[in-house]
Amino acid sequence: MKKLVVIGGIILFAACQQQENKLTQTIIDPNDTSEMALLMRDMFFQLEEIKQKILLGEDIAQEQLNFELIHTQTPTDESFLKEGLVPMSTAYANSIEAFNKQPSSKNFSSIVNNCMSCHTQLCPGPLERIDNLIIEK
């Protein structure tokens, strides 16, 4: 009899547990992603890999970066095409070229500084993320 009550209790508990129906899903970006945003995410991941190699003291002499020009990419909307974007995008491309000619920690930092300068003026949201690319002295 006691056994039956215990079993019944467990069934009762289990039945009630199933009452709370919860549907869950995890999302990183629920919105459409523009060509320009995708390029920048790709840049970040590639630069992050190089930063890790620099921090681990690995040889980066053969590292090469190859990105499209930022200002030729389609942005989220026209408001992202602000004054100053083209010269800053060009300066960024120049810093990539300098890194490709001579891959070094100094030239890597020059790229990151270009990212910071541009985002400080044109779109400050990602600064916190770019900050993670800085190599502490």
């Binding site: 009452q19 709370e20 869950t24 999302i27 629920p30 400050p124 916190e128 993320r129």
Partner: protein, 153 residues
């Protein structure tokens, strides 16, 4: 024996009642739980005492960044918090989240929002350049950097 089974069956029906509605929870960023929430007045007290606290609170979404979904304004009690997302690492819907209950987990702290940043937020929210230029004073506000968000549907 039969009596016991009948009692248990009835107990199950009464205890559980009719099936509840399905609750949809959508997680953004880290998957967090919706329990152990801090009451907003306690949060304010803690931030005033220590400058910055790790916490989890509930509020209502007032608006989200209409351009990228990279920030949101959340009403907690009578205050409005600017919520940004850790390392720009995740986003919330650009539209359609207004009025929904939200749980945010992360760091709360006081922050001065510069005029440039406030103008940027205003433009993100859909205001024209001319409208955003009307902002001429920085704001000292309670800010929140979230590493995980639950929006309840």
């Amino acid at each position: 024996m039969k009596k016991t089974i009948s009692i248990l069956s009835l107990a199950t029906i009464f205890a559980c009642g009719t099936p509840s509605e399905t609750k949809v929870e959508i997680f953004y960023g880290n998957k967090i739980t919706s329990d152990s929430l801090t009451e907003y007045p306690d949060l304010v007290e803690q931030v005033e005492l220590s400058g910055q606290v790790s916490t989890k609170i509930e509020g209502t979404i007032i608006e989200t960044c209409a351009k990228k979904g990279c920030w949101m304004k959340v009403k907690a009690d009578d205050d409005t918090l600017i919520v940004r997302f850790k390392d720009y690492g995740f986003f919330v819907p650009k539209e359609g989240a207004e009025g929904k209950t939200v749980i945010i987990n992360g760091e709360a702290f006081y922050d001065t929002l510069s005029v440039d940043l406030l103008r940027h937020y205003a433009e993100d929210a859909g205001e024209s350049k001319e409208e955003s230029l009307r902002i001429t004073e920085p704001e000292f506000v309670l800010s929140f950097t979230a590493d995980g968000v639950i929006i309840q549907e």
